[in-house]
């Protein structure tokens, strides 16, 4: 079979996933279990092979997936996706972005508000949800803006955003520069029980910066962004969370000090969580040396010391989730001068393989990686996703943790192909992705 097959409109029925290793960390399951799915939810979890020929399927379309040698896990939940629709359909659409998610094993994505128009009011949220319902392959949970138009001047309509279905608010891509406005945003968001996600990069310290500041930026002659540009805003927002009692989530932590600040805040008992991206725990600013614009991201790739601290943060539980910061950009955004290129990379389709590197290098156990990609991420934005208890939504990923493959950006389901991992040899490949009992991706 050539290209991956995507079936959008399969009728609901009964699906049995048998012979696989079921890993459902939230429910402390890791072993030979069969998963029985009916009407879009988990119907039963049975001893492997116990559903024999004697089973009388309740529906005509009874399907069996043989997952021999494969891992069966809750579908991944991405806290940080840019679907680009509305406004930047040349980079990505809800259709292609969710196809990319499905190919990466993600069954739910939280999409950021920096669309055009910005998702700062209910009508935009409704539009996104409508498109997702009609064309999306996976669950889409919009994140609303903190400020109108992401301009950092006035609060967005958080009340109606929440009502329309937003699960959090964030000005991601921009930092709320004014501390008083951020304070108000946290207080306002708290009134609607919305977590605030901070994109923490001080815009003045980072001005015109394109990579991490250090000996590499000095040698390349590129303008640097100091670690402190992130640390200062993380510290500021932690103090504001302390002041306001708001739920704060720090997006894409990339520095050692950032991890330490979050750890300290947690120790204090504050309601703070944070995420890390696969590219930040995989690459360092050394990758910039060839001026490949696919190494340009915000926050920038940091030093080896920072990278190690991120992995340590994953190990000790300071970091709550792995999120992709899937940021598709077209060739015309990237085939330009390094200074002019857009920030960000395609993330959904390489996240699993890059995360599994941490298992191979014995930094994490496979259950930990799955937790970070599923229920832990979901709980940050209050989603009842990411586990396979009886009665839960049947969002499932089946993957081969050992299959070696070479990342081929041109074969991505995403509309964009901007990836620094193109050509990289990795291990761990998604075989099947199931959303509410429907197969949305098979390799």
């Amino acid at each position: 079979m050539g290209a991956s097959k995507i079936r959008r409109k399969m009728k609901m029925g009964t699906l049995l996933i048998t012979n696989g290793t079921l890993i459902d960390p939230k429910n402390k399951k890791n072993g030979k279990w069969d998963l029985l799915i009916e009407n879009g939810v988990v119907k039963d979890i049975l001893k492997s092979g116990s559903v024999g020929a004697g089973l009388k399927p309740a529906h005509k379309n009874f399907q069996v997936i043989d997952a021999k040698g494969l891992v069966v896990a809750p579908g991944f939940v991405d806290l940080h996706t840019h679907l680009r629709e509305p406004g930047f359909e040349y980079k990505e659409t809800i259709e292609t972005g969710t196809a990319s998610a499905a190919a990466g094993g993600f069954t739910s994505v939280c999409c950021m508000a920096n669309t055009n128009p910005v998702n700062d009011q209910a009508s935009i949220t409704q539009y996104i949800l409508k498109q997702a319902k009609e064309k999306g392959l996976v669950n889409v949970f919009p994140i609303g803006a903190v400020t109108k138009g992401l301009e950092g001047k006035e609060l967005s309509l958080m009340g109606e955003l929440k009502k329309a279905g937003c699960v959090a608010v964030s000005d991601d891509g921009k930092t709320v520069r004014n501390a008083q406005l951020m304070r108000l945003a946290m207080e306002y968001a708290r009134s609607f029980d919305l977590p605030v996600i901070t994109h923490a990069i001080d815009p003045d310290l980072a001005e015109r910066g394109v990579m991490s500041e250090g000996s590499m930026s000095t040698s390349l002659g590129l303008r640097g962004i100091p670690n402190e540009a992130e640390d200062i805003i993380i510290a500021r927002d932690i103090y504001l969370a302390q002041l306001t009692g708001a739920r704060l989530h720090v997006a894409h932590v990339a520095t050692r000090e950032g991890v330490e600040l979050v750890a300290k805040a947690k120790k204090k008992g504050l309601s703070i969580t944070c995420e890390v991206t696969p590219h930040h725990f995989t690459l360092t600013d050394d990758a910039v040396s060839g001026y490949d614009t696919n190494t340009k991201m915000a926050p920038p790739l940091r030093s080896e010391e920072d990278r190690r601290a991120l992995i340590e943060g994953l190990r000790d539980g300071t970091i709550d989730a792995i999120a992709t910061d899937h940021a598709p950009h077209a060739l015309i955004d990237k085939e330009v001068e390094y200074d002019c290129a857009c920030f960000g990379i395609v993330g959904l389709e390489t996240a699993l393989a890059l995360s599994l590197k941490l298992v191979e290098s014995k930094k994490l156990k496979i259950e930990d990686v799955i937790s970070l990609l599923t229920w832990k991420a979901a709980s940050i934005v209050g989603l009842r996703k990411g586990d396979l208890a009886v009665g839960a939504d049947a969002d499932v990923v089946i993957f081969d943790p050992n299959q070696a493959w070479t990342v081929q950006a041109s074969a991505f389901q995403s509309k964009s192909k901007n990836s620094p991992f193109d050509g990289m040899k990795v291990k761990g490949r998604v075989k099947t992705t199931i959303v509410s009992g429907k197969i949305v991706y098979t390799m």
Partner: protein, 307 residues
């Protein structure tokens, strides 16, 4: 005799001392042409050199143009106004279009670091970096090394002090790579606001005080203060900068007696360097310009003709 195997000349960082010496040897051989009554060699007849200058330049562009014409190449100048180099401009498209016209050498200057590398990777033509952002300016470093050799007879063991906005200077970076490879010791001098992070990892001594930084120098290289730069100024007033980091006779008084003064130009007299110093007996600023033509002739010759 050594063969020059490179397709492109992008930076000093990846050149060996041998290659630098070979380029300078070639430059000295060609130097003689510039002193003839008829300043022309037929070597590059039928070759096309495009000067692709995305950033304005008088000295470097003219120098490359004269170098090309003295070797009988057809030299075309393309300059782009700063306004058109904006987000969304497809660099590769520009490059591919030029390629379609079949040039042999593209000489590129750009305000963004790395552009010559991108061009070189995507073009069959040879690419010469004529300055990329705050990264490298290899032909400047080559002509500077040549000038120091002319003045001092050697580079090994010399103390070179580079003074000024190191953070934003491609001349500084290329010269640091170049002089270190040539056996010299390099000191960089600037206030902290103009000193980039991690510069000491390049193997230089760092000083923040002018007199201290140039006391033992055999060569002092003053960098131009770019008054037109964007963003917040890294010093209070030009007057204060000039008082603290400008090279004048009273600073020079405490330097080595045979110190040589250099400047990549254009000079701001009275800012980073006093007129009496710039135009004084220790100054080799105009020799630098003359050597620039020879070095560029050598590179055009080696990349297009001398194979």
């Amino acid at each position: 005799m050594m063969k020059f195997e490179r397709k492109d000349l992008l930076g000093i960082e990846d050149l060996s001392r041998k290659e630098i010496e070979f380029i300078l040897h070639t430059a000295r051989t060609l130097n003689e042409v510039s002193n003839r009554a008829v300043k022309k060699l037929p070597t590059l007849r039928g070759k096309t050199v495009i000067n692709l200058f995305f950033e304005s330049s008088t000295r470097t562009r003219t120098s490359f143009e004269i170098a090309g014409k003295r070797l009988s190449a057809d030299v075309i100048n393309i300059s782009k106004s700063g306004s058109s180099i904006e987000k969304g401009e497809n660099l590769l498209d520009t490059a591919k279009n030029l390629e379609a016209m079949g040039p042999d050498i593209i000489v590129c200057r750009h305000s963004s670091a790395g552009v010559p590398w991108v061009l070189a990777k995507n073009l069959k033509a040879s690419v010469i970096n004529a300055g990329d952002g705050a990264h490298e300016h290899p032909t400047q470093a080559l002509l500077d090394i040549m000038t120091v050799q002319d003045a001092k007879g050697k580079t090994d063991g010399l103390n070179i002090s580079i003074v000024g906005d190191i953070a934003h200077s491609r001349v500084a970076r290329s010269n640091i790579y170049g002089f270190l490879k040539m056996g010299a010791k390099v000191t960089v001098v600037a206030p902290y606001t103009m000193m980039p992070h991690g510069i000491e990892k390049m193997g230089v001594r760092v000083s923040h005080q002018l007199q201290e930084g140039v006391r033992d120098a055999d060569v002092i290289m003053m960098l131009r203060i770019q008054q037109e730069r964007l963003g917040l100024a890294p010093f209070s007033t030009l007057r204060e900068y000039s008082q603290l980091y400008g090279l004048n006779l009273s600073v020079l008084k405490n330097c080595k007696k045979d110190v040589v003064i250099m400047h990549p130009g254009p000079v701001n007299r009275g800012v980073e360097i006093d007129a009496q110093v710039a135009d004084g007996p220790y100054s080799v600023i105009l020799t630098q310009v003359t050597n620039g033509v020879s070095v560029r002739m050598a590179l055009l010759y080696l990349l297009a003709g001398g194979k």
